[in-house]
């Protein structure tokens, strides 16, 4: 727990609009106080937003409403008027973007040091997965280093005071584990692992005093999950935040929201809602799934005093000053005849829609596969977490969302697998552990077992198992079923995908239209059985990126790339790998030039 962030004062005063967006200059407040959001803040010139003394641009500007259409990422390059006026207005446009000036930037020490860190195993991420692997590896006698982006260990469980299956109270369990592991291994807190260069693997400290050059024999990626912004009309509201963020705000720093809607009803979403309810906050739990997604915690919702909006879409929203007024409607699926429409006003809408953090496997060109059972796009791996790259493993939610008690088991399998490779333990020991892990997978949810089995055997996308179409996109809160898509698209210009560059779903659809040479993609046709649908090829994300700049902001697509892929696959009923992801590039999070240059 660090100092009380500046942001809390603002929020408690009712000022949620703490940021302005870079392009339109609108208040933009997806609030996220986690290490991976630094790039997003930087996109519009904000730094240390969640520290006690943030840096903010001294000057902000905004696009006047009549010109907003012209300025949109999809129409800006093609406007005849702008082309005509270009020589006269370009300087104006350049200086109207919300950026900070170089001399306002937080200073970087002139003495940043380059440090070499050598270890047997490097673990990226100090949450339940990373800590569990570290513990097992340390037991086997390995020298282990953990790199954690936050200045505390424990990941999401740190803040979770609910009962987690088999582990007891989340915060207590992880507190004990953190202490134990810290006495066994070396931990770098507040350090971001940036990724892979040809001649080095590096990271940097978030206070910008150090560049770390890693040397390891095995690498374990355990970055966990990431809650991404929800996509619904008016989601540029400054009243959205991640589940982890709101729990930290409320529990650590005295943020006092009255009414909160938590969107996303998997294990984590339910527990976020339960945590808030325990603290006396009026909590709603929403999701456009037909039932609460979480098998493990579904039954606890009713007794926690949480009201639910399950099986509903958010079809409209408006900030009323007093709160965010949301309009919800039930899914339009074929069987839904009765129309249910609800309105609710909340202080905050919480995104608990989470995705596995696949940045690093993607940087390594590991195969990324669609597996809806474990959270959408995940790296292909075997039961041991082996990515098939020689010495890289992925464990925990980063390799596909799993309940925590299974992650602990999985961590043991990964650690033992490394132990076998090093000849420290026999194959039979690993086999026994594997068998137990598989049994636990099957008894918890057999589809977890099936999906990892497919990965291990390389059957995904093969004749035995074709990658499915996307049936639902947890973060797209406006279209729960394919029948809802048409309706959802009507408000596409108010549904923001990219918060660094103000790119809406409408911009993406426009880009697709351009790339398909004006061929209007009618959702109605696509969902029919027509030949046209089958032969239609949707342009890849790589090309969409180059038309509207999706994913080119300083957050490097952490907010938008996976969501966009899944939403497009859902709209056009294509397999996610047909649309793909743009190449994920180094570094994981921006590094100041001064840190790279090093001290004299």
């Amino acid at each position: 727990m660090s100092k009380r962030p500046w942001i809390i004062e603002e929020l408690n005063r009712g000022n949620y609009g703490v940021m302005r967006s870079s392009r339109y200059g609108e208040t933009r407040g997806f609030i996220c106080c986690e290490w991976w959001c630094e790039g997003y803040w930087a996109s519009s010139g904000y730094y240390n937003l969640c520290g006690d003394k943030p840096t903010r641009p001294s000057k902000v500007s905004s696009v006047p409403a009549p010109f907003k259409g012209l300025a949109s990422p999809s129409s800006f390059p093609r406007s005849r008027l702008l082309i005509l006026l270009w020589p006269f207005i370009r300087e104006r446009i350049r200086s109207s973007l919300n950026r900070i000036s170089a001399n306002e930037l937080p200073g970087v020490m002139a003495t940043a040091v380059h440090t070499k860190v050598s270890t047997d195993v490097l673990i990226v991420g100090g949450g339940v997965a990373g800590l569990s692997v570290a513990k097992e590896l340390a037991k086997l006698g390995f020298k282990v280093v953990i790199v954690e982006g936050e200045d505390y260990l424990g990941g999401h469980l740190v803040i979770d005071d609910t009962e987690v299956k088999d582990l007891g109270r989340g915060s207590e369990f992880i507190g004990k584990l953190s202490k134990e592991v810290e006495s066994l291994v070396t931990v770098y807190r507040g350090v971001i692992f940036d990724g892979f260069l040809e001649d080095a693997v590096i990271g940097h400290s978030r206070d910008f005093t150090k560049l770390l050059i890693f040397n390891y024999r095995y690498l374990v990626l355990a970055q966990g999950f990431r809650e991404v912004p929800l996509v619904f009309p008016g989601n540029n509201t400054p009243r959205m935040m991640t589940g982890l963020t709101i729990l930290k705000f409320v529990k650590w720093w005295g943020f006092k929201p009255r009414r909160v809607l938590v969107w996303g009803s998997d294990d984590w979403g339910v527990r976020v809602a339960m945590n808030l309810a325990q603290l006396g906050v009026e909590v709603y739990l929403g999701d456009n799934s037909v039932t609460i997604r979480s098998d493990l915690y579904r039954d606890k919702v009713a007794s926690s005093g949480i009201r639910t909006f399950i099986g509903m879409n958010i079809v409209d929203s408006k900030d009323t000053g007093d709160g965010l007024r949301l309009v919800l409607e039930n899914l339009r699926g074929k069987k839904a005849k009765i129309r249910r429409r609800e309105e609710v006003t909340v202080d905050v809408i919480v995104s608990a829609a989470r995705i596995p953090v696949i940045d690093l496997p993607a940087q390594l060109n590991a195969q990324i596969v669609y597996a809806p059972e474990i959270g959408g796009l995940t790296p292909r791996r075997g039961f041991t977490g082996d990515l098939g790259l020689g010495n890289v493993y992925v464990v925990g939610d980063a390799g596909g969302l799993l309940p925590e008690h299974l992650i602990v088991r999985q961590a043991r399998v990964t650690a033992m697998s490394i132990g076998v490779k090093e000849g420290l333990i026999g194959q039979d020991v690993l086999d026994r552990e594997l068998a137990e892990f598989k049994r636990d997978l099957v008894t918890t949810n057999s589809s977890y077992y099936n999906v990892i089995l497919r990965f291990e055997q390389g059957l995904q996308g093969s004749g035995y198992y074709a990658e499915p179409n996307v049936n639902y996109v947890p973060m797209w809160a406006t279209a729960g079923t394919v029948e809802d898509v048409e309706n959802a698209i009507k408000s596409a210009d108010r549904q923001y995908l990219c918060f660094c560059e103000d790119i809406t779903l409408r911009d993406v659809i426009e880009a697709i239209k351009v790339l398909m040479h004006g061929k209007e993609v009618k959702v109605k046709i696509l969902h029919g059985e027509e030949e046209e649908y089958k032969s239609l090829k949707i342009p890849s994300m790589e090309r969409i990126k180059r038309v509207i700049g999706l994913g080119t902001g300083p957050c490097q697509g952490k907010f938008c790339l996976v969501s966009t892929n899944l939403i497009l696959s859902f709209i056009y009923q294509k397999k996610p790998n047909e649309i793909g992801l743009p190449r994920i590039r180094f570094p994981e999070s921006p590094i100041p030039m001064g840190v790279l240059a090093g001290g004299e």
């Binding site: 800006f76 390059p77 370009r90 170089a102 930037l105 937080p106 590096i202």
Partner: protein, 389 residues
């Protein structure tokens, strides 16, 4: 022989190999003359060097041939926003060459008098005082003077690629992505077909515009040996900040270059030795730290700006660092090349494509095109670099 093997069979007046800036421009200008055109690319549109470059153009070259070509090529380039209906985001912040040695500055002065001034594109030679005055953010330690080319500028490569792409489609050009050319059919000394993975095209003309891959491709498919070799270069971009660097800076001594995009990102690189061959699209710490070190030394206010993304791409180098366009009589009839731009393919491509199309359809060798014909590697009449650094 290979007919029928492809999934799609069609015929076209011309096939263009490569869907980068050069290939798309050739396809578009051919189609504008009424030809039916098919384009093949082994990857996606613009996925080679066309969208990996720094997006800058200059008029000043170290020899007459390239400078004269550049003058016309830049005029063409700058007119593209109107022609294509996509905003090329053009601007002219100029190029600023920093010199640290007297001989180099004198060499620039000589070139200016003998070449650039007579052609109507004089550069300004700046003293260090003038440099400090106009570019106060530059640390002038060790710099003895600078050369400023005010005509030089910047563009947005993605939008221009999109412009050619959509214009070409408008005219019915068929573009096949992820369709690598596998065979060029020759009968009685002339091209009769081009087949790729997935497509068989009956045609009498094929233009190789495959950038860094052209040399390898023509050698494999036709046994034609053109000296085009790939050199990998790395490049990086920072988070955006308010306008800071108002020109494009090249340190002639350290080979550092740095500029700022319209969006505010600082973009640049340092050219180190090596990089020959089709190295993977990776990056190195040695390059990254060298770039950061020299950049911060030259512009101290960059210290706090964060590097957001780095990548790499290929230069398509020829022995005289100049492009190759046209054909040789010894080649099968119907084979043309437009490649080997050695780092200035985007700025030369559109104009070069127009000249090539004129050559293909009207048989006219434009005087500006003549020095760049492939016969110079047989006669030994290479283009000479006059600028000695």
């Amino acid at each position: 022989m290979s007919e029928g093997r492809g999934l799609i069979s069609l015929s076209a007046d011309a096939v263009v190999v490569g869907a980068g800036i050069v290939g798309l421009a050739v396809a578009y200008y051919l189609a504008r003359r009424g030809l039916s055109v098919v384009v093949f690319d082994k990857g996606y549109v613009g996925g080679g060097s066309s969208t990996r470059n720094a997006g800058r153009y200059r008029v000043h070259f170290g020899n007459r041939e390239n400078t004269e070509f550049a003058i016309r090529a830049i005029r063409k380039l700058e007119s593209l926003s109107n022609e294509l209906g996509w905003n090329g985001i053009f601007e002219r912040p100029g190029y600023l060459w920093l010199t640290r040695r007297k001989e180099v500055l004198e060499s620039y002065e000589r070139l200016n008098e003998q070449l650039w001034k007579p052609l109507g594109i004089p550069v300004q030679i700046l003293t260090t005082d003038e440099l400090k005055d106009r570019f106060p953010y530059i640390n002038t330690k060790g710099i003895i003077g600078a050369v400023f080319g005010p005509q030089d500028g910047a563009f947005h490569h993605d939008y221009i690629i999109m412009g050619y792409y959509t214009k070409a489609l408008d005219l019915g050009v068929k573009i096949f992505e992820f369709s690598e050319v596998k065979n060029v059919g020759i009968e009685s000394g002339r091209v009769v077909s081009v087949s790729s993975s997935g497509v068989f095209a009956r045609t009498r003309n094929v233009v190789f515009a495959a950038g860094a891959w052209t040399g390898e491709l023509m050698r494999e498919l036709l046994g034609i040996d053109l000296p085009i070799r790939p050199v990998r270069r790395e490049i990086g971009i920072t988070e955006p900040v308010r306008p800071l660097i108002n020109t494009y800076i090249i340190d002639a001594e350290t080979n550092l270059y740095i500029g700022q995009t319209m969006r505010g990102e600082i973009l640049g690189s340092i050219e180190l030795e090596g990089g020959e061959g089709f190295l993977p699209y990776g990056n190195t710490l040695s390059w990254l730290t060298a770039w950061a070190r020299e950049a911060v030394k030259l512009i101290p206010s960059l210290r706090n700006i964060r590097v957001m993304r780095i990548w790499s791409g290929y230069y398509e180098m020829t022995p005289d660092h100049s492009h190759i366009m046209g054909r040789l009589d010894t080649w099968p009839e119907g084979v043309y090349v437009l490649s080997g731009f050695s780092g200035h393919g985007f700025m030369f491509g559109p104009y070069a494509a127009e000249l090539l199309v004129k050559y293909m359809l009207d048989g006219v060798v434009d005087p500006l095109m003549k020095p760049f014909l492939p016969d110079r590697f047989i006669t030994g009449n290479l283009i000479k670099e006059l600028l000695v650094i």
